[in-house]
Amino acid sequence: MRATIRLVTLVMLVGIGTTLRWTTAAQTPGTGSIRGRVDIRRTIAPPERRPGITDLGNPVPRDVPDLRAAVVYLETAPARAFEDRRSPRGRIDQRNETFVPHVLAITTGTLVDFPNNDSTYHNVFSLSKTRRFDLGRYAKGRSGTVRFDTPGIVRVFCDIHSHMSAWVLVFSHPFFATTDTDGRYRIDGVPPGTYSVSAWYEGSNRETRSITISPQGGAVDLDFVVQ
């Protein structure tokens, strides 16, 4: 029994120590960066509304989601990366019948707000195994919040507007990045070692490559092409 308590105490102390070191990893000498570009050669078309055959007229115009975002992440992260226990906050807006951003990458424990900016109701829900939820219907100016505790991929929809969808990618480590409008990304604070790095785009891993961060750190360039 005493041995167990000592072991647990030791693990906790080591955990706290590594967490403290980890939160400042980006500034720590000897860590590296992975940077590059994801070249999406064939952008997936945004989902259309179902043909409104029973409608009495054209539907109200909506925004088209930006489907150019990809997520680059480490498949194999250092063990201590999993000890980061911060609870940051994320946000996916509902604006002109579109989720903005279309892709949100977060760490486990993140609280994500889903504010409604439209004058109509929305009903955010997900039936994904990673996180199943239904926020119900709420009006403009109101918001619902979901905490994501399990790593995985969560597809988010609106129960009222079937063409609205978004992705939430939940990671148990902080080594990931979402590409900008030019497809560029940068992952900082990566400890020395050899890693598998994957590019994810619209529901699936498109390419996995291996890179090595040297003990001296530095930046490694890694580009992906999504056909």
Partner: protein, 414 residues
């Protein structure tokens, strides 16, 4: 037997679809072609229930709505910035494939919510007819006002009040001796399963949407081709005073009795109409959705008044009087989502009729019906839902006066 086989095949196909959908190999969203100019959607509904021996759930297509296979495919073609073509092909119980809707939608002023629709257009009257096909109906059964068959027909007429009263509660196979004497189903108050042909204009503002239409048939009897020379005028106004609240008001008036039936009743140049008024309300908030619906329909039907003057479906003299037949349907339904992807729903309804005087005194011209349906659904995936419901019906007749059914349904759409 054939229907059962097809239904089973579709169930297995649907299960297969469910599995493959998880692997993202079948469409969960509409299929787009031609750079978004063509959008195709579809839905499959397989419903199971015991035989409805009291015919409470039969529709104008002679199908039990709790026990059918329905396949539908809808398409939108964006011809120009201002003109779209829309259509729906549908088959029920694998009988025939028919174009239930086929029309052009024109937006003459692209920046204004002003649309003109021409062809076989969606119903203007009421809320339910435009929600009948998909997951918007929280239960398997349809509301009485939009499905239940009264004994009244557009192509056949009772000679006397007694002839009409004899058909009380027999709308699934109604038979009269003036006009078409072949036994056939009657009409519902509002037919949600068949679309009328004509032109429809809709103008929308922030809180208000107004629609007007001129069509060939009437709300009970939508038609592609003319059968009485008259037109129907239908209007609908929808107000959204606050988020989640929609109040709708509808009106329709159209010629109802066919020219042949009117002539057979000795009223060659007269017209006999149907008028309908509707009020509906929808309120939703959080995990609740509540709806209320009232439909009042009035038909004017010529009565020969003397069975002896009718021979071979034709009357030898002019109608003795015009009967004003009224029906009022009231419905309240609610849905509550109690878990992500799981909901419970209920609907309570009443359909009543005005009294007419026969040889046995005053009596409702058709048998009043009460219906309660309780059910729920579980989403196996976003576009595949399994539903069950229990439905209880009471009809004020001496025979076929009660029906209780447990039904199940698989509904898939993309």
């Amino acid at each position: 037997m054939k229907v059962t086989s097809v239904a089973l095949a579709v169930v297995f196909t649907s299960c297969g679809l469910a599995t493959t959908a998880a692997a993202q190999t079948i469409p969960s969203e509409p299929v787009t072609l031609g750079d978004g100019r063509v959008v195709i959607g579809g839905d499959v509904a397989v419903s199971f229930a015991p035989e409805d021996e009291s015919y409470f759930n039969y529709s104008s297509y002679d199908h039990n709505t709790l026990r059918e296979l329905r396949l539908g495919m809808t398409a939108l073609v964006r011809a120009t910035e201002r003109i779209s073509l829309l259509g729906e092909l549908r088959t029920e119980n694998a009988d025939t494939i028919s174009p239930y809707g086929l029309y052009a939608r024109i937006r003459p002023f692209p920046k204004r919510r002003f649309d003109v629709q021409i062809g076989r257009i969606p119903p203007t009257f009421g809320r339910f007819p435009r929600q009948a096909y998909s997951r918007d109906n929280p239960l398997i059964g349809y509301p009485l006002a939009y499905q239940y068959l009264t004994s009244l027909r557009a192509n056949a007429l009772p000679a006397t009040a007694d002839d009409l009263l004899r058909m009380r509660g027999r709308g699934w196979l109604s038979s009269f001796n003036v006009g078409d004497t072949t036994p056939e189903h009657g009409v519902p108050l509002v037919n949600s399963l068949s679309w009328d042909t004509g032109i429809q204009v809709t103008h929308g503002w922030d809180l208000l949407t107004v629609t007007g239409a001129v069509t060939t048939g009437s709300v009970s009897n939508p038609r592609v081709s003319e059968d009485n020379g008259g037109k129907q005028i239908a209007t609908r106004a929808e107000v959204r005073p606050l988020a989640g609240l929609v109040i709708g008001s509808s009106f329709a008036r159209g010629e109802f009795v066919s020219r042949h039936a009117a002539s057979a009743a000795g009223a060659r140049d007269a017209s006999f109409d149907q008028r309908a008024d509707g009020l509906d309300l929808e309120y939703s908030r959080s995990h609740w959705l509540l709806r209320g619906d009232a439909v009042l329909s009035r038909w004017h039907v010529p009565m020969v008044g003397d069975t002896a003057s009718v021979s071979g479906g034709m009357s030898t003299h002019a109608p003795a009087y015009v009967a004003a037949l009224r029906a009022l349907a009231l419905s309240v339904e609610g849905r509550y989502t109690f878990l992500p992807g799981a909901y419970a729903a209920a609907r309570v309804e009443h359909l009543g009729f005005n009294r007419i005087t026969g040889s046995r005194g005053p009596q409702e011209w058709d048998a009043p019906v009460k219906r309660v349906e309780i059910g729920g659904g579980y989403y196996l995936q976003r576009n595949l839902v399994a539903r069950v419901s229990w439905q209880h019906n009471d009809r004020e007749t001496s025979r076929f006066n009660r029906g209780r059914y447990v039904s199940g349904q698989l509904l898939f759409w993309f």
